[in-house]
Symmetry: C2
Subunit: 309 residues, 2 copies
């Protein structure tokens, strides 16, 4: 059983003067999700945001922007192209498209190069690779257009690889429940005051979307042994007040290696977690975001060979 947990990510901000993206309603967003080869499972809304839980990750829709994360072998670039065609090039203020290095890139329906080529047929994009090809690396492409993020517009990602320990074992076992996973992830402490909408996949896997006023967070877990992956993303300030969330997740899930990505935010972890091997890459985008990428892994390790049956 192999499932590619790592996500492709699309975030788009439209120009003022357009109708609210939320007002487009579920059929429009169903077509967007369907373009990526995913499905909407459920929705959690508050006065600011509609948070769709997907068969492969998540979609958050605000009045003037949306954020879509899709994992597996989804074709998120199709959703990007569909959206641009629908709203018109001139109404796009900001667009960013990201891909992480996959465990098995040969199983993907397209490469980042192919995705970029298609995006560039519509709009000028600048593209970067953060990290070396032989290690964790992220591709990041953005609409090459001046843009000024709002104050406190920051996003952080924590991407964990090869989780271990009791909670990892529970996540891989049969008959997990949302309640059991929430408790083990300590979500009441890590996401205080958030409304949660979660789902347990069969035979395993877990997704949760979380909203609290204008704050959002999302966690996606692909627990399979030898290819496990867990992502956390939020607009909370993980470089400051909320850095305890990162330490909490790292302590609970015990990943062998992990990345952080910060947009106008430097995700911070405790001294103990800083003590690991690290590669780091910083990048100032001309669309107003300062990006920080770090890849960390446990100290020297002896690994067990994996027998492929």
């Amino acid at each position: 059983m192999f499932f590619e947990g790592s996500e492709k990510k699309l975030e788009v901000v439209i120009k003022t003067g357009n109708a609210s993206l939320r007002s487009r309603g579920r059929p429009f967003w169903e077509s967007m999700v369907s373009a990526a080869n995913a499905e909407i499972l459920s929705i959690l809304s508050n006065e600011h945001c509609d948070a769709y839980l997907l068969s492969e990750s998540s979609l958050f829709v605000w009045d003037d922007r949306f954020l879509m994360l899709t994992c597996g072998t989804t074709t998120l670039v199709n959703s990007a192209l569909l959206f641009i065609e629908d709203i018109g090039l001139n109404e796009v203020d900001f667009l960013i498209y990201q891909r992480k290095n996959e465990y098995h890139s040969q199983l993907q329906k397209s490469s980042i190069d192919e995705d970029l080529k298609r995006l560039r047929s519509c709009l000028p994009m600048r593209a970067y690779q953060l990290g070396y090809l032989d290690s964790h690396h992220h591709y990041l492409a953005h609409f090459n257009n001046p843009y000024e993020p709002k104050i406190a517009d920051h996003t952080s990602e924590l991407l964990m690889y090869h989780i271990e320990g009791d909670v990892a074992d529970y996540l891989r076992a049969e008959n997990q429940t949302c309640e059991g996973i929430r408790a083990r992830l300590d979500l009441e402490r890590l996401l205080p005051g958030f409304e949660l909408n979660d789902f347990v996949f069969s035979p395993c896997g877990y997704s949760v979307n979380a909203l609290r006023g204008t704050d959002y967070a999302t966690i996606h877990i692909t627990p399979e042994q030898n290819s496990s992956y867990v992502s956390f993303e939020s607009n909370l300030d993980l470089g400051g007040e909320y850095s305890f969330i990162l330490d909490g997740l790292l302590e609970i899930l015990k990943p062998h290696s992990w990345d952080t990505v910060g947009f106008n935010c430097e995700p911070r972890v405790s001294k103990a977690n800083q003590a690991h091997f690290v590669e780091r890459c910083d990048l100032m985008l001309n669309c107003g975001y300062k990006v920080q990428f770090t890849h960390r892994k446990a100290k020297n390790e002896t690994l067990l060979p994996i027998l492929s049956l």
Copy 2:
């Protein structure tokens, strides 16, 4: 310009009583090389071995065994199947097939899973993955047959990623020569007494086969910036007397990260080179080889983002 330097590797030993593999002559080996989608460039022979330099790496043929390394997008599994069909299953005493994690596995003509499936349609194979999927990892599959390696039958590989410095710059420049590369790699010191047969590719890239009595060595260099790769393989004792070769290559090529693989040999490096981050994986094969895999990388690093134009 992207070229996948990392090699697939096939080694086969035939049972005693068969005609010498060398006596099959060039047309047979041409068909073997052609099955992998490569070509023979030249040959260096001594009384023990015929060493073919290929358009994509190397082929060494002894009386009772051969070793074939092919890089790029070659289809080495085809050569394995052709050989088995030609000689007959019952005449194969030992067979090992290896693949390293590629920079861009999505560009390969087949995955390791597909290769394995085809090999297993002919003969029982045991297969292992050494190293985690999110880091350097090697796939190793062998004919599941009792086999007893001869004393002093050891093989070592040093695989270097992201080379830097003056020599790397020279290798990437125009108009390199064999003499210029031999001098910069210090081959007279590192491979004393060896006969060399080398080739400079256009616009860049270098291969050398080396023979000295029953000893062989081979080096393949893919110097391209952002995806550089250099491999060294030999049956010299790199865990003992000849460990200076590894230190020499590491000092000259200054790779950002590197792997060693040892078969009945633990490739050894100086204290300075040991001081890097390391992952290690040991494996006892039931065909008589003890395999040691290590992956090492430089200490904490700040990387530059790569702009994809």
